[in-house]
Amino acid sequence: MLDFMFIFFASLALLGGLLMAFHPNIVHSAFALVAALFGVAGLYWTLGADFLGATQVLLYVGGITVLLLFAVMLSTRDAARISIARYALMAPIVGLLGAFLVTTGKALVPIVRAAGGALGPTEPTTEKIGNLFMDPTAFMLPFEILAVLLLVVLVGAITLARRGEEDAA
């Protein structure tokens, strides 16, 4: 069952990523991105990370990608240009990097496997994650810094958007 789910979600993620990178139409690319993010959310689920799976769908699929689409509709008039020929030189670099990542993964596996652990039964993670966030010895400081970052971004985004408006007017 887990194998089947892995294959399903993995192909969703790969197909989505492929279409995202190569589809000439930018809106189709955005929807391929949705599929890919969905696939990754499903993979989180197969790894027992139920909270993160839902967060991924909520924030990435329901939030970030909608924002991206919004920006596409506001800014892009013609179909996006794709210049595979011009960037054919990059193909070997990309291929090498892919091969490097896969082999690194392979090399890392025995180290982690030796340390133990396995795909176990799913147990609720929400409470554990929450406790880690609020634990002063664990992630409390990063959590607070993250809150400040979000505030800064909120103010910054509004300021930038406003300034653009004044220039246009």
Partner: protein, 106 residues
């Protein structure tokens, strides 16, 4: 049987696809999408490693998942600012093509 290595291979492949998006597409928003895919690939590897972590006193703390949570939150913040910049760019220069924005000043 699906094991850790399968998740890592997948993560590597998805990362490469995201890189393709970043390098080959010239639309600012599509470059952003590529970056998001790459972040997701890294997140996937983090969670897979977390699942195979050595238990300390019999418990595996979901620390890898906490990292991923931070990544997602920061990515959301990043996208908000980047999109504002993209829209401002479009208003000012009437383009969202990264090659057209090569000037250092105007």
């Amino acid at each position: 049987m699906i094991q850790l290595e399968h998740y890592l291979y997948l993560s590597g492949l998805v990362f490469t696809l995201g890189l393709c998006g970043v390098m080959m597409r010239r639309n600012v928003i599509l470059v952003l999408m590529g970056v998001e895919i790459m972040l997701n690939a890294a997140n996937l590897a983090l969670i897979a490693f977390n699942k195979y972590m050595l238990p300390i006193d019999g418990i595996v703390e979901p620390k890898g998942q906490v990292f991923v949570f931070f990544t997602i939150a920061v990515a959301a913040a990043e996208v908000a600012v980047a999109l504002v910049i993209a829209v401002a760019l479009f208003r000012r220069l009437d383009t969202v093509n990264v090659d057209d924005v090569a000037n250092l000043r105007w």
